[in-house]
Symmetry: D2
């Protein structure tokens, strides 16, 4: 951590903060120039919120030198984290995984029809929302526990693993019973109460990036889960909020490269939520593969026009099949394993 004092700071102000930091057992190295007092703070500064130190009179600017996340960082673990779901399905490493399914679970019939088809087309994991985070209290809120049971049932019958979004810490036992991967939605990325609970969960967690979160904040949220003991974390980029309105969000495709540099955790892309338009999903999926993501989460529906949510961004089944064929072709050129 580097601390730069204000130009008008006094020697006394400088000494006060230095004394405080030394009392907390940090080593101080001075880098002052003629015009400005600057010093480095050596030691494990991860317990300091730099923001708090601004309370000291005369402090100008504080810059972290080490990353605030530890267990999530590439320096903590050099090799890639690979999450083994069993039956040869892995997330991370060389494999390119595809999660597909409806936005919301609507009925057993709907779910089965979609599941059978995405399985046939090559998907590995079935997605489906049981508890839906809708911006309006007057919109369809999901089938809740019933939805989770259907996910499990249909997953077992089709041979797909299942993933669904958890809305709150108190529902964790239910999710541990019914799903293979627990998803944290974009609006809960900094629901620290939930993240702490997931640190004790026995299932892998897929953490979606907050709508306007930086990559550092996202990795800090992963750190919350890992600090609790659960190191099975998958990151999912799903578009960030920008001024652009033509797409629902802006897919930050470079985040794949940044995450792979900073962390050992696998990262997949959700082009459906990013674009919010089904006709962009195929091309964005190919770009995700080309940039090096570990997989995709895609919304698929057999009848998007009558879907209870997010029909706009759902691929019809035959479009999904075409996309999977294209993915196969490019995977081969790139040397990616794809079941």
């Amino acid at each position: 951590m580097i601390i730069k004092m204000k130009e008008q700071a006094t020697k006394k102000e400088y000494e006060k903060i230095v004394a405080y930091l030394e009392s907390r057992h940090f080593e101080i190295k001075d880098v002052s120039s003629e015009h400005i007092m600057v010093f480095g703070v050596i030691g494990d500064t991860s317990s300091i919120d730099p923001h708090d130190l601004y309370a000291f009179q005369g402090v100008g600017e504080i810059t972290r030198v080490s990353t605030p996340f530890k267990k999530a960082s590439r320096s903590f673990k050099r090799g890639d984290t690979i999450i083994n779901l069993g039956k040869g399905v892995q997330i991370g490493g060389d494999q390119f995984i595809v999660m597909a399914g409806p936005c919301s679970v609507e009925s057993e019939k709907q779910l089965m029809k979609i599941a059978e088809n995405v399985k046939k087309a090559g998907a590995h994991i079935l997605r489906g929302g049981a508890y839906k985070p809708r911006t309006s209290p007057y919109s369809f809120q999901g089938l809740e526990e019933e939805g989770l049971k259907l996910m499990r049932k249909v997953g077992d019958q089709t041979g797909l693993f299942v993933i669904s979004e958890i809305p709150s810490a108190d529902l964790l036992p239910l999710f541990e019973t019914y799903v293979d991967i627990i998803q944290v939605g974009t609006r809960n990325m900094q629901n620290f109460h939930l993240l702490k609970a997931l640190g004790k969960a026995k299932k892998p967690v897929m953490l979606k990036r907050g709508m306007s979160a930086t990559i550092e904040e996202w990795l800090m949220s992963a750190e919350y889960i890992m600090a609790g003991g659960n190191e099975q974390v998958i990151l999912c980029e799903r578009g960030i909020r920008t001024y652009e309105r033509y797409t629902r969000n802006t897919l930050d495709i470079s985040a794949v490269l940044a995450v792979k540099e900073l962390s050992h955790l696998p990262i997949i892309i959700d082009p459906s939520h990013a674009a919010g338009r089904w006709n962009m999903v195929e091309k964005l999926s190919l770009a995700s593969l080309a940039v090096g993501a570990h997989g995709l989460m895609v919304e698929v529906h057999h009848d998007p026009e009558h879907a209870l949510s997010d029909g706009a961004q759902s691929l019809k089944i035959n479009k999904f099949k075409t996309m999977m064929t294209e993915i196969d072709k490019i995977s081969q050129v790139l040397g990616k394993r794809h079941l």
Copy 2:
């Protein structure tokens, strides 16, 4: 709701979506021109997520005509909502309320010292965090239940009402026992599970604006609480995220005017979190008063340099007193009631 078809849309596509909407009992009024098909959808469209309709082939753009929130809207209730805490303290209307106190409750001694002083200077409500939403799992997380108990005790002894932030729905009984106003933090603004629970709470709720939420999204979150039956909602603007880095967030002071136009709910400002720098708090507070906010939430600490969190943005006690004097002077010119 106005639906504009794409230029290349066919008559058949137009008829399909029209038929669907008519089957849901909406009235359709055509406004097409020579080059483009456009129509209005008349009826209560609040149950439709416009996004879902994009699933229909040929749909170009959908625009809401009525606001998606109802109970929170000015058209639902013309007069201002005024929340009566008792002892003459009201939030809303002509009164300018001041909530003050430390970022975190650290000890009884600390809390009492600050509470006595802010009370003397004219504050009405004691703020203090018991469950702290920290970005790092390695930072101080708050005294939790013990902190809530101290808030109640010190509030009672000093004659201040108390407000504290709730982290999760399952802690609601605890908060209903100990605090007078339950605060929802910026990171939980769209924690719909929590909002639904608060719809059943017997205490007023103060809802902070999400870090990058629009005013419409914020009011939709208020709607969640009100839809559940709890109409005692206070809004709190606390700065939004922008590219600017000199301040922690950017105080959106115009939000006060927008909210007062769109809604009947009271709105207060938190200049401490907005700026993240204590030396900006006084001036921003005066501006908040001048623009017409119903009150302030300000962080005050007797020893900010050793505060366990957010010292940087906490006013020292004598600075707070000076600020309150300035507020008094301007209140008088503006004809605002200030205890």
Copy 3:
């Protein structure tokens, strides 16, 4: 254009704005419901700035139905615009074009070395800045006219077309003399004085997207050039500003898909400025190809560490060669023509 009145608007206010619009020869179609007055404005509304109409008392919200750009729109011209530079080099359509070269022209020797190498590796166009828009007045500002002459000379000797950025309208004659494509930089995207001058230019113009411009604003800037008579416009996505700091900007890869839907103009991607880190350039280039861009603009330097600007994002020559080989492989799978 759809105009929705405020709920509290009076019949008289409604009639006033309707009368005004009818006096300007627009046709009005009413779509009012019981609670709210709404109407459509039929005719060529491109000369109306919707913002201006808010001056009428009682106006609530105004929504454009037709796009504000005409000549740049897909409905003006169904087929793709293809810009022929000669010698079989085209921008647009099926070809995937590569522009490469240093950020700044530094000397003839430097430029020649880089040009020969990028030509050998398969690039079609040489990029190089002569007038550099630097954020600091104390940084290297470019070789100016001398730089343009070197571009021409080296371009001719190596058989590459040349592109360079114009800083101001009064330098247009110089650019028309020396370069094959005139580039408008991100900071000048809404320099309307310059855009109008380029409307009269005899050379194609490459228009970079403004750092925080929407796609609609970007196409409106293209419209300025086309309205003046110059329809040879290429769009270049170069990353937009977001909160993310790890990358210099955030590459908006979906913009390629949006532009191709809304417009007939070709669109290329500049991954160097988007990422600001050379080690992300190759993967982002492959993603750009996969998503369907018409080409790339890439910074290449033989000695990035001593480049006078933007070394951080410049590829070394052998990295550029590797990248071109990868592009070739994927181009074949995708059926793209690549010289």
Copy 4:
């Protein structure tokens, strides 16, 4: 400047960049810890674009310690810059200045009517656009030179100083002839060619903040003008782009406090462009006064509904008078001088 190497950086990489910086006569101070190499660069680093140094292999993160602007900084000049227009009108210091007038000059009659009224109400400076930066080439573009002449004539007859926006460097002689203050619009804040020309101008320059510029970038643009020799620069905050759509832009009122800390230059606020809604202008003006701005720029029109541009945000004349009365009252409490 502090340079932190990547964790995996080698000793050799460290030595290479250190050697390079020493060759440029900077002094190096090492602050490395056990796990990470970090060093300070001492000397005048304003000629280095930190971004360029990332080209060196192994460089992790670079942080400026001194501000990149010099002449614009508070450390260059402790006291406030005060711009004297004559006749007792000053911008900066204790005076609260009001600039008012129409968005566009439309005719002599219109301009005279508005000018006489704003003068009577207490304004000091007449604003009016002659060259209008419109987003559509099909909108009214201004009266151009004729407009400037009218500004001068009406200014002289009413005893108001005049300000108008310059679109391009080649029009500087015209502006030096006709106006008292030359305005740089938000879209030209980084038109460095124009800024350099204004460095040689003999008139004060008012520099509007770019729509998504940081305060540092804004002050760097001021630095461009000052570096050329013209130190008469006024800053104008006019709202920044955020996700919020209810207001046209988001007024960053804290920017006043930030600028006053970082710089000696005066700063005024334009609430009309910030809000884009006339009914917010009065309250935002009072807040601007309360926060400590040096003045206001406000759009006023006698007939906003038929204004050729920006009627939505223009105050009617009697509203402007009411506002000026409110400003007077609060000025007195705050001890601000107001003519």
